[in-house]
């Protein structure tokens, strides 16, 4: 969770505002001030501006711009903290103490987060801000933060236990109802009495009793109401899910090894996906949903708090449903050309790019004719899980989930940032080269990418932003 790539001020970490822990964290959260100069590059050498905007973050957004000019307003609006501007030290000194301060800053961040999350009433806005600059790996902070950000856990701690048990029992019940093997089902409902009678007397030889089968409850039944028929309808879905699960993150032992733990993980994920498919017959299962589930399940089951890790499956199911509720329309083929569908989102991406860098946009759209649907389809539907390595995915998802305007909004920004970051290569490439580049996105410093994403000017002509403007007066 590096706050800055290279230029770390040792002082920053030691600066103390004992009365306001929030601001210590905001210390690591530097980006606001960089809009000056409007460059989408990383930091200019030796110079950085930082501002503390604990509550100002939200209002900064609402004004629709990220320019530092709002600083003064923040003081009046947020009323919590005065803005502070600090000039950086020249590189050399900074670099020497860089790694130490990184560690200190990371520790600070962790303890801040722990403090935050141990409050009775969690300040979601603050959490969003903290999370967007990265959550610590390991421990249980990320799992908790994600659950809060996705709305699975309510903001007040007292309600956590109840919510969790409610959801977990609900899940178990759903599983029992929908994922049951038909033969188990018939066993449970089956003629209990005659069973016992017959087996009381093991020695009876003779013709076995025949019982009438009602309700079309036999395996070859073609009736819609039959448990068996419904079961077989989903075998195709099940096969698809199995196949995809085998291919999830083949480089990670957690998912793809032959060990019993790994198989257990795959089983859990299979249950989640199958349950989702059964509960949403309109979409059922689409290839790729396993990739969206993978980071969630990973984070929740590597939660160091035993209690939570044991319930990773129901928790991941609930959060998966929440996460997908935004983008579920992207998976539905019929909605492709509708305002909610994937094509409309892709054109929003185009518009966003146009609003931020018309030259690049023109080059892609017209000169090289690289349409977003050739590369961004997978970026958007799978929430960037296929473009980066696992660790980066978790970091990016920290930002995605903590955006107060929603995952999709941030997703578009990150996609746009991805384009901007390889701008020079794109400008010098033709259709083939660009497509190749974008479909196998090169390794990049994630923090830099996310910074660029933060700085992106939102597309003012888009519906969402304007509706937000209206709401906030």
């Amino acid at each position: 969770m590096l706050l800055k790539a290279k230029f770390k001020l040792p002082e920053r970490a030691r600066r103390a505002f004992p009365d306001r822990l929030g601001s210590l964290v905001a210390a690591g959260f530097e980006d606001r001030g960089e809009e000056d100069g409007g460059s989408d590059q990383a930091l200019e050498l030796g110079e950085e501006l930082e501002t503390f905007l604990p509550s100002g973050f939200g209002s900064g957004r609402e004004l629709g711009g990220y320019n530092g000019d709002d600083d003064d307003d923040q003081g009046r609006r947020g009323g919590l903290v005065e803005p502070k501007v600090v000039l950086a030290k020249p590189n050399k000194e900074a670099q020497v103490s860089a790694s130490v301060s990184e560690v200190i800053a990371a520790d600070d961040k962790r303890s801040d987060l722990e403090y935050e999350l141990s409050q009775k009433e969690i300040n979601l806005e603050k959490l969003q801000r903290n999370a967007s600059s990265g959550l610590p790996d390991g421990g249980s902070l990320r799992a908790k933060a994600w659950k809060l950000l996705l709305g699975y856990l309510p903001a007040s701690r007292d309600l956590w236990d109840k919510e969790l048990t409610d959801n977990r029992t609900k899940y178990a019940k759903l599983k029992g109802e929908l994922l049951l093997n038909p033969s188990e089902f018939s066993r449970r409902n089956g003629k209990g009495l005659s069973f016992n009678e017959r087996y009381a007397d093991r020695d009876v030889d003779g013709a076995l009793e025949r019982h009438d089968v009602s309700n079309e409850d036999h395996p070859l039944s073609l009736g819609k109401a039959s448990v068996w028929h419904q079961y077989f309808q989903f075998t195709e879905v099940l096969e698809q899910i199995e196949r995809d699960l085998q291919r999830t993150h083949p480089d990670m032992k957690f998912f793809s090894a032959d060990s019993s733990l790994s198989r257990k993980n795959r089983d859990a994920m299979r249950n989640i996906l199958l349950l989702f498919a059964k509960l949403n017959p309109a979409i059922r299962y689409v290839q790729g949903m396993n990739e969206v589930l993978a980071p969630l399940y990973y984070v929740f089951s590597t939660d160091t708090e035993e209690q939570n890790a044991a319930y990773a499956e129901p928790d991941s199911f609930a959060c998966f449903v929440r996460l997908l509720s935004d983008s579920v329309d992207h998976f539905c083929e019929q909605l492709d050309n509708s305002p909610m569908g994937i094509h409309s989102t892709l054109s929003r991406l185009s518009e966003l790019l146009k609003a931020n860098d018309e030259e690049l946009w023109r080059h892609l759209e017209f000169t090289t004719k690289v349409n977003p649907q050739f590369y961004a389809f997978r970026w958007i539907t799978l929430l960037l899980t296929q473009e980066f390595d696992f660790h980066s995915i978790l970091r990016i998802w920290d930002s995605l989930l903590s955006n107060p305007f929603g995952v999709q909004e941030m997703l578009l920004r990150v996609c746009c940032a991805m384009l901007l970051c390889v701008k020079s290569r794109l400008l010098s490439g033709d259709f083939v080269a660009n497509l190749k580049l974008l479909q196998r996105y090169p390794d990049i410093n994630i923090e830099h990418l996310l910074r660029v994403a933060h700085d992106i000017t939102p597309d003012r002509s888009s519906f969402d932003m304007s509706s937000n403007l209206l709401l906030d007066g």
Partner: protein
């Protein structure tokens, strides 16, 4: 949950042209894991048809089968159950339960599936269970002309078997089921 289809004595093309349409509409690929066939298909086309329903096909030789390579008896293990397969014309008197029980003890199986009589039977004796799936086409037998088409589908689930009997009576498919369990100790061990 393993679905095993027990079927046999079709006598196609000599005594019957094809399976009844209602049976054919129910037998679709993808649901059944194993097929055990008592024999008397009689021709290769029927063999291919059964193979298309399920790749795992076990078959024993009936006296009218044109393919002489099928074995006389076969045993296989599915789940916790040992199944034995034999056409039944070799066991004399035909259809006699005691003689079949002897065969079952010889093969040392929990469930013996045999045919030839073209009559459905499911019988339990101390050595295990004998199932006769009857004739799936309703072909006449050496014993009687009055034959209802029938076949059997077994749902084997660890120690429990549910046997679904499909019979075509007066043009309608009638389904019955039979439950039995195997105790953890061998079924040959009677409770003393």
């Amino acid at each position: 949950m393993v679905l095993v289809l027990a079927i046999g004595d079709l006598h196609i093309p000599h005594r019957a042209p094809d399976l009844p349409a209602k049976f054919k509409s129910m037998l679709v690929p993808g649901k059944i894991q194993h097929i055990i066939c008592t024999g008397n298909l009689c021709i290769k086309e029927v063999h291919d048809y059964l193979k298309s329903l399920c790749p795992s096909l076990h078959i024993t030789r009936g006296e009218y089968d044109e393919d002489a390579r099928y074995p006389e008896t076969k045993t296989l293990t599915i789940g916790q159950f040992k199944l034995g397969l034999c056409h039944g014309h070799q066991v004399v008197p035909w259809g006699d339960l005691d003689s079949l029980a002897m065969l079952q003890r010889q093969l040392d199986v929990d469930i013996l599936v045999s045919g030839h009589t073209h009559q459905f039977k499911a019988y339990k004796h101390e050595a295990g269970v004998v199932i006769n799936p009857g004739s799936a086409t309703g072909a006449y037998s050496s014993i009687t002309y009055d034959v209802n088409p029938s076949f059997v589908l077994m749902d084997i689930d660890s120690l429990r078997v549910v046997v679904y009997v499909y019979e075509l009576i007066d043009g309608e498919v009638k389904v019955d089921k039979i439950d039995f369990k195997k105790t953890a100790t061998a079924t040959t061990h009677s409770a003393h």
